[in-house]
Amino acid sequence: MPLSDTTPLLEIRGLSVTIPTPEGDVHAVRAVDLEIGRGDIHGLIGESGSGKTMTGMAMLGLVPKGSRIGAGRFHFDGQDLRQQAGRLRGRRIGMISQDPAAALNPVLSIRRQIDDVLRTHRDLPRAARRAEALALLAATGLPDPEKVLRSYPHQLSGGMQQRVVIAQALATGADFLIADEPTTALDVSVAMQVLALLRRLVAERNLTVLMITHDMDVIAEACDRVTVLYAGRSVETGPVEEVLNRPAHRYTRALLGALPDAVPRGARLAVVEGSFDDPDPEGAA
C-alpha cells in the first residue's frame, strides 16, 4: 500500500498538556510537533522536565486526572488520539517502561506478568499463551526462557528484567512502541545490547518505536530520526546524523556540548541555561 507508506503513522501538531494543581496550572507540554513514519525508530530527546514523558503518556491516554490536552492534530494511523487513546493502548500502542526493576511487580512471577498481558490482548487458549510467552522471551534474546518464566523479578539481572519488559510490550501485539528511557537503569554494555535488540525487533516485526531519552548516545546508537524537546516545545527535528552533525538550534548544540564524550578531558561540562517553566529562555528561542 504505497499510500499508507507515505503518510506518517503518528502525526502530532501543536500538542499541549496542562495539568491543574492546587498551586496553579503546570504546562507540562506546550507545543510539540512530532511526525513518525512507519518502521522508524524516532528519538525524543530532552532533559528531565522537558515534557518528553508526558508527551508519551498523552499518546497512551494516561495523563493525570483533570489534565487538558490541546492539539492541532493528534493522530495515530488516521485515528484521533484524543478520543481513541484508551482503546488503542495495548492494542496498537505499547509501552516499554523505564527502570525495569520498578516496572515489574515484585511479588508476581514473570509468567503471571506476561500471561496477564496476553490474556488481555490475545484470544488464545492457556497452552498457546504459554508457548507464546516462551517465544517472546526467546525473541528478546533471553537464554533459558523456561527458567525465566518461573522466576520472580528480583531473581533476574537488570538487563534480563529489561528484556522481560520488552517481551511484555511485544505481548500486547502493538505495532507502535513507546520506549521510555529503556536503558537509563542499565550499565553501558547491557544498554548497548538492549538497543541492538530493539533495532532487530523493529526490523523483524515491522514495529515503529518512539524512543524517549535524555541521552544523546542512545539517539546516536539506535534512532533514525530525532526530535529535540525543550521546555515543553519541540525545537528541532530531522534525521539523526543531520541533527547531531549540524545542530540548527542553540539548545541542541548545548545538549551536544553536555555530552561527556564530546568534551576534552578536564574541560568543564556545558550547562544548559533556562528552566522548563520558562517558555522563552534567553538564547533558546
Binding site: S97, N105, V117
Partner: protein, 340 residues
C-alpha cells in the same frame, strides 16, 4: 538462611511468652483472690473443710513450688476441676473450644471477605463517595460496642425480619430428634461428615449473626488497612506500567496491586482472630452460643477461678500460636520482614 534464623528466633520468643503468660495467670488466679480455699470448699464451708481445701490445693506450699505444680499441670493439659461443677475442666474445654473456634474462624473469614474488597474499592475511588461511605462505615464499626451490635442484629434479623434464628448453635428439633454425631466438635464439619445437609444449613444459619457481630470491628480495621496499603501501592511504577500495557483496571486492582497488599491482610487475620476469641465472651452470652465465652462468663459469676484461668491459658496460647504462624507467613510472603 535469614528466614530460618528468624523463624527459630520467633519460636523461642513465643515459648518465653507462654511461660510468662502461665506465670501471670498463676498470679492472678491463685494469688490475687483473697481466699481460694473458701471458694473451693463449697458453699458455707466449715473451718475443717477450708483447711482440707487448703491442703488439697497445696496453698501452704511456698510460691515457687506452687507455680511449678501449676505450670507442669498446665503443660500436661491438666486444668484441674471446676470449683462449681466439680467436673474436669479439660473435659469441658474439649466440648466448648470447637464451638468458639468455629465462630472465630468464620468471623475472621467474614471480616476479610467484607473488609478487603471494600478497602480495595475505597482506594480505587479515593476521595469519592464509595471511599467516604466505606471510611464512615469503618469508623462506625470500630466505635460500636460489640454487645450492643449483637443485640441490634438480633432485633433486626431475628425479631423483625425473622430470617435468622435468635440464638443457639442448632435448632432444638435437630438437637433432640436427630442430633449430629460428634466427630470433630465443629458442627458444620460434623454435619458434612455425617452427610446431614439439613443440619449443615441449620448450623450455618445459626452461625451468621454471631459471626457477623464479631466480624464487624475487624472488617472495619481490614478496610482501613487495605485502603491505605492499596493507595500506596497504586502509586508505584509497576502499576503505571501495567496500565500502559492496557490491562483492564479490575485486573490491575485485584491481580497486580492486591497481592502486594497481602501483608496488612495477614495482620488483620491475627487481629480478627484475637478479637473473635475475646469478643466471644460477650457475643456468646447474648447468642447463647455454647462456647468458651459463655463457659467463662458463667465461671466469672461463680468466681470459679480454675475455669477462668484455664480458658485464659488456652485462648492465649491459641492467640500466641496464631501470631507466630502469621509472623512466619509474613516472612515467607515478604522476605524483607525477616531482616528487621
Amino acid at each position: 538462611m535469614d528466614i530460618i534464623r528468624y523463624i527459630l528466633r520467633r519460636m523461642v520468643l513465643s515459648a518465653f511468652v507462654v511461660v510468662g503468660v502461665t506465670f501471670l495467670v498463676f498470679i492472678v488466679a491463685q494469688v490475687v483472690p483473697s481466699d481460694p480455699a473458701a471458694l473451693y470448699a463449697g458453699p458455707r464451708p466449715t473451718a475443717e473443710q477450708i483447711e482440707k481445701a487448703r491442703q488439697e490445693l497445696n496453698l501452704d506450699a511456698p510460691l515457687p513450688a506452687r507455680f511449678a505444680t501449676f505450670a507442669t499441670a498446665m503443660a500436661a493439659g491438666d486444668f484441674g476441676i471446676s470449683y462449681k461443677s466439680r467436673r474436669l475442666i479439660a473435659e469441658d474445654l474439649k466440648a466448648y473450644l470447637p464451638a468458639t473456634l468455629e465462630l472465630a474462624v468464620f468471623s475472621t473469614g467474614m471480616a476479610l471477605l467484607f473488609g478487603v474488597p471494600l478497602g480495595v474499592m475505597a482506594a480505587a475511588r479515593q476521595g469519592r463517595w464509595p471511599d467516604r461511605l466505606g471510611s464512615l462505615g469503618a469508623i462506625a464499626s470500630v466505635a460500636m460496642p460489640t454487645f450492643f451490635l449483637a443485640m441490634l442484629l438480633q432485633l433486626v434479623f431475628a425479631q423483625w425480619l425473622g430470617i435468622m434464628p435468635l440464638s443457639g448453635r442448632i435448632s432444638r428439633e435437630i438437637a433432640i430428634s436427630a442430633p449430629v454425631p460428634q466427630a470433630t466438635g465443629f458442627l458444620l464439619l460434623d454435619s458434612l461428615l455425617a452427610w446431614r445437609p439439613d443440619a449443615f444449613a441449620d448450623a450455618a444459619r445459626h452461625l451468621v449473626l454471631p459471626a457477623l457481630t464479631l466480624a464487624s470491628y475487624p472488617a472495619g480495621v481490614a478496610m482501613r488497612l487495605t485502603r491505605s496499603a492499596m493507595i500506596e501501592i497504586l502509586e508505584r511504577r509497576h502499576i503505571a506500567a501495567a496500565r500502559a500495557l492496557g490491562l483492564p483496571s479490575g485486573r490491575i486492582l485485584f491481580g497486580h496491586a492486591l497481592p502486594n497488599a497481602m501483608g496488612p491482610a495477614l495482620t488483620v487475620i491475627g487481629l480478627s482472630f484475637a478479637y473473635a476469641l475475646t469478643g466471644a465472651v460477650l457475643v456468646e452470652i447474648i447468642f447463647a452460643w455454647p462456647g468458651l465465652g459463655r463457659y467463662v462468663s458463667e465461671a466469672i459469676l461463680a468466681k470459679d477461678f480454675p475455669v477462668i484461668a484455664a480458658v485464659t491459658m488456652v485462648v492465649t496460647v491459641c492467640y500466641v500460636a496464631m501470631n507466630l504462624i502469621i509472623d512466619i507467613a509474613q516472612a515467607l510472603v515478604d522476605p524483607r520482614v525477616a531482616l528487621t
